[in-house]
Symmetry: C2
Subunit: 422 residues, 2 copies
């Protein structure tokens, strides 16, 4: 079922998932209808969206909306998605980081700064997919398990699109994330436990009649939801002038984002939208939650779950579902997975702010920290064109930085001069 | 000196201010060279930028960068501005607010959501202009008096562009604004006093040798700086499909933004880029700092300064420099200036969040509150196409909203059901 420009205008209603053709098991390849399911009935492998892409040109994309819907033909969304009420995230800045590059001795460095999204994290991208799926499946409540950013993104998108929402977070999150989850008027339920406890609770709720008409964006809508991260790959390639970067540093929470960025790059190559050239994928974790990095270092294929203890709460998933796929991709492309401690995270947030005016959340401190570490170790090539991701906003993790007024003075020039501030 | 497409590629260096031709006194019309000056030597009136525009087409704009530099030909910036290190703000979403419109009984309402800018307020737009002027004039330190948002915008832009920065704020600002001002590594000096005290202090410093190579973005660079607000007008018109709105609600701090949006609309008409049709401009203040609204109500031309007392700190300027011009514009266009109290601000932030998924700062609560008030009073037409501005981000004014977790529970389905949350 190839899409062509000759399709009738009424096609939208008959193609709620656009060029998506099926769900497909990542392990055994078994195919399923496009339904709210997420695990293979045969091998319990995760399902992902498979497509029958038609012809897609750079020009058609460039004529599209100035948000992720310019890539609608590559996503599981209806053709008229840009007209539906949703948050329209994406097309966030790719910052040419010349001053940071100079400090690190690099030739060409870019920061993909996703704090520019509507709720200031990359989660708006994935939630936008889940909202369209929830609409199609007739769910009435949007839900999720969240380390914070996702809760805000779900709350906002549910409000805009007219869904009820009820989100689940671990108790003790940063104030900014809690307020942002709650301000849109949905329910916010804190669970005494870790994110992994929250996740298990949600899986139970889905199996219960109480959760019957609930769309959990990152559980029963996960195959659709996850595709949203592909838009990071599309944007980076388009913003580089339709070219893949040579190296990319991506944070790892569940690992889904990293796998989808790789998928996005490969799709662009397959569709002839970019030249096929090698790229290396690097995964970044905080030391206090580094099960994938530990497996990479040890040469293992199996991830040993951990109990997280790090200020990088948005990455604090101790049992990352996509960990094995992350190992595959980083090994296949010649990249690596590494970790940095919380002190390096704080220091790297300050470095990024001071050199580029980008105020990253802790996850951006993790990627920038890993960038520095792998450059020092020689695993990253300072001459290769590199992209580092900042997936969230420093305003949501204020406690992670120590920044305040230099001095408080009376409004007098003499006092100002005497204070040695000039 | 008309600009034409035939200009040589080296023109940038010889046109540091693009099509800007002079500074011109808003009171007596006296013209000055493009220098770091802000007041007329003869009548002490404020200076603003005058242009000799060439031909400017919609198509040329639409081919431009996906930020304010698509309007570079309408701004006092070099032709190659998009290649220089700056924050590249703008092209923030114009949200079609159908759910809010339905609640308010309106036909066509849009929210211009400027929280999507790099430091999450409209200030990135004005600072971007000041940075280019500071570069041209050879200043080494960027500075400002600020109620918070501007300090963050200056800190970030200075970091990106390689300036030293030292900003001045009143003591007691919101934590998010203080951290965001300080995180980029510049100096942040808190002054014991109001914003107006801070402003007076900065005027003193400019006259002192200590401030010699300092560019105060909103004092000695103010004529350039202020032009950045015109980009809000350009974007709104382009995003409406090259059409002026019929009504627009704009917050008033100094009043500069409102006057420049009006200037931007009139330029678009003069250049033939939009149809000349009437539009009404409405100004919005918080009751606790409403000198312009009071003058409007009383039919006065003179603004009586006040001592601010409101949670809308970003609008807390008790002696607004552009107040008289705001009165002129709102009267000339058939609009109004109104105020709402802090309770209405809080309530309106919640309304906007609940209906549209937009988390506004207090200034957005003020505009939305005034929108509701003037609709109720019949001063705003519910049938006319209306734009309301949100100029900042709720994450920076967390204390203004009461939003938190609905409940904290153990990870158990039974507990969840017993809590009556489903």
């Amino acid at each position: 079922m190839a899409t062509t420009a000759a399709q009738p205008a009424t096609a939208a209603a008959t193609r709620p998932f656009g060029s998506a053709a099926a769900l497909s098991c990542r392990e055994c390849g078994q195919r399923y209808d496009l339904a709210p399911r997420f695990a293979c009935e045969f091998c319990f492998g995760p399902l992902e969206v498979a497509y029958d892409f038609g012809d897609i040109s750079r020009e058609a994309i460039e004529r599209g909306p100035k948000n992720i819907w310019r890539y609608a033909a590559l996503l599981p969304v209806p053709d008229n998605v840009a007209e539906l009420p949703n948050m329209n995230p994406g097309l966030t800045p790719l910052v040419r980081a010349d001053r940071l590059a100079a400090e690190l001795g690099m030739r060409a460095l870019h920061v993909k700064d996703d704090s520019g999204n509507p709720t200031h994290s990359f989660k708006d991208r994935v939630v936008a997919m889940a909202v369209e799926a929830a609409r199609t499946f007739g769910f009435r409540t949007l839900s999720c398990s969240s380390t914070g950013n996702l809760a805000g993104a779900v709350g906002a998108a549910a409000a805009r699109a007219g869904f009820r929402s009820c989100v689940f977070i671990p108790a003790g999150l940063e104030e900014g994330k809690v307020v942002m989850a709650a301000v849109y008027g949905g329910q916010v339920v804190a669970i005494d436990g870790t994110y992994d406890d929250v996740n298990r609770f949600c899986s139970e709720l889905i199996g219960d009649p109480a959760g019957e008409d609930w769309g959990f964006v990152n559980v029963n809508l996960r195959p659709y939801y996850a595709e949203g991260s592909k838009t990071l790959a599309y944007e980076i390639a388009e913003q580089l002038g339709w070219r893949l970067p040579e190296q990319i540093v991506i944070p790892i929470a569940s690992g889904s984002q990293l796998t989808k960025i790789d998928k996005g790059f490969r799709e662009l190559v397959a569709l002839g939208l970019v030249e096929d050239r090698p790229y290396k994928v690097f995964g970044a974790q905080a030391t206090g939650c580094s099960p994938v990095a530990r497996a990479f270092e040890a040469g293992h294929d199996v991830i040993q779950p951990v109990k997280p203890d790090t200020i990088a709460k948005s990455l604090a998933i101790g049992n990352p579902a996509d960990g094995p796929y992350v190992l595959d991709i980083c090994r296949r492309t010649g990249g690596a997975v590494a970790h940095v401690d919380d002190a390096a995270v704080v220091d790297s947030i300050a470095l990024l702010a001071r050199t580029e005016g980008v105020f990253a959340e802790t996850a951006g401190g993790v990627t920038t920290g890993v960038l520095r570490k792998l450059l020092a170790e020689g695993a990253l090539d300072p001459q290769a064109e590199t992209v580092v991701l900042n997936t969230g906003d420093g305003l949501k993790t204020l406690n992670a930085v120590e920044a305040g007024v230099t001095a408080t003075i009376k409004p007098s020039l003499d006092v100002f001069k005497a204070a040695g501030l000039v």
